[in-house]
């Protein structure tokens, strides 16, 4: 195995085109853990740490752009991720433990595409767009089309995620990521990412995404429609939860049985919506 650390995106893309068995490594936490368990071996590892243009958070009036190599800790502390984008900041702050948040990057997390991770569902709720570059040029992939199966994304051979672009979201929106796990820092048994706008006592906008509930993060527009126009009473929440649970296909493992995860969806949805409705964003 060889390790290369290109200084620019262009150089990295050339390596990927030139080498047939090359793989990028960002923060490396998850990938190196799999290499330690001799689950993964590659000919060429391309370290992206030296490509300055890939990290940092910038904003314009209608968008926040997070470089793919931006670490979880920086995202969790970003004053820019407010309103609807609170869902992304709150997710970043609940990933694993402080030390892992100093290592892991948002690009690495979504490329690994583990549905139990926190960013996939949060970015789905935030309506993100994934910017990916390859030798042929740059592509914008809507988040809804990015995740395809367990650990499988729409990325093509030789493509690198360069940034995650987040629309500001509607005025007055608030976002929150509710993560339920066995112990602090464990992967979620089930997570609910929600973005909500209240017009007085009535919900006028809702984006809900489930994590750890299937091969990819789950969004059901019918469930959101069931909330919009309602005062987020028990009936509306129960109907939305039913539609979401129908679309869910959670695994059965040491973190919880399929049945228990399905039981949690309505309960955590209610917790997420009530937290947002009442204004404070306490974590679970």
């Amino acid at each position: 195995m060889r390790y290369l650390a290109p200084g620019s995106l262009k150089e990295a893309l050339d390596i990927l085109r030139r080498e047939d068995d090359a793989r990028c490594i960002a923060g490396g936490a998850t990938l190196v853990a799999m290499m330690n368990a001799d689950l993964v071996a590659v000919d060429v590892l391309v370290g992206l740490g030296r490509i300055a243009e890939l990290s940092g958070i910038t904003e314009t009036d209608d968008e926040v752009r997070i470089g793919a190599m931006t670490r979880h800790a920086e995202i969790a502390a970003s004053p820019v991720l407010t309103g609807a984008l609170g869902v992304v900041r709150s997710a970043a702050g609940q990933i694993a433990h402080p030390a892992v948040r100093n290592m892991g990057t948002i690009g690495g997390s979504i490329c690994h595409a583990d549905p139990a991770a926190d960013f996939p569902a949060a970015l789905l709720a935030a309506d993100a767009t994934i910017e990916a570059a390859s030798a042929e040029g740059t592509r914008q992939i809507p988040i809804g089309e990015f995740f395809e199966d367990y650990f499988e994304t729409a990325l093509r051979e030789g493509e690198i995620v360069t940034a995650i672009r987040l629309p500001r979201g509607p005025a007055g929106a608030r976002g929150h990521h509710v993560k339920f796990s066995r112990v602090d820092g464990d992967y979620a048994t089930v997570s609910v990412s929600a973005v909500l706008v209240m017009a007085g006592a009535t919900c006028s906008y809702a984006r809900i995404a489930l994590g750890s509930s299937g091969p990819v993060p789950i969004r059901v527009t019918a469930a959101e429609e069931a909330l919009v126009g309602s005062p987020l009473d028990q009936a509306a929440i129960a109907e939305a939860a039913r539609l979401l649970a129908e679309a869910a296909d959670p695994v059965d493992d040491v973190r919880g049985t399929t049945e228990y995860r399905l039981m949690l969806i309505p309960r955590l949805l209610a917790r997420a919506l009530n937290t947002l409705k009442d204004g404070e964003t306490a974590s679970v």
Binding site: A29, A33, N102, M103
Partner: protein, 163 residues
């Protein structure tokens, strides 16, 4: 090893505890491997080898990271500090001394990592309360102490404890 997969070694320069080390290693080697084997710094410990227990914590540019799931090559541009780099000769750092005085040490295997985490936490926030301390220690697993005296040790270094 058989001919076909002779492990190619590449040069790497690591800055650890203020010393510069020029090494030739196989790229798949982790920072923890290199610290413990080549550099004989055995204060960082291998326990889970998956980055979930914290026993391998070191500071990278002042922030705690997991050496067992960091490639040695990925540390090339950073300043690495291990537990051996915190004391000044045999004068303990104030965090190390607070751990002694609070009676926080039992088997000691997780203690280097606890000191690393506590040092970084106090550098960032000199006056953490109990909850901030417990969050700062998140992911540093100890099986002997139940964490009570570890939190006390850190608390003893904050203003709160002086009153």
């Amino acid at each position: 090893m058989s001919e076909m997969d002779v492990i190619e070694k590449q040069p790497v320069t690591l800055r650890v505890n203020g010393n510069v080390h020029e090494l030739e290693i196989a790229p798949a080697r982790t920072l923890l491997d290199v610290l413990r084997s080549e550099l004989r710094l055995t204060g960082a410990k291998r326990s889970c080898n998956q980055g979930v227990c914290g026993a391998c914590s070191v500071l990278r540019d002042g922030k705690p990271v997991r050496a067992c799931i960091s490639l040695a090559f990925a540390a090339e541009d950073s300043e690495i500090t291990t537990i051996e780099g915190l004391a000044d000769g045999n004068r303990l750092s104030r965090v190390q001394q607070a751990f002694v005085d609070a009676g926080a040490v039992q088997c000691g295997f997780c203690m280097p990592a606890m000191v690393i985490a506590a040092t970084a936490l106090l550098n960032e926030n000199p006056n953490p309360g109990v909850e901030e301390i417990r969050h700062g220690l998140g992911g540093n697993i100890c099986r002997c102490s139940g964490y009570v005296k570890v939190v006390d040790a850190i608390l003893s270094l904050t203003e709160g404890s002086k009153s």
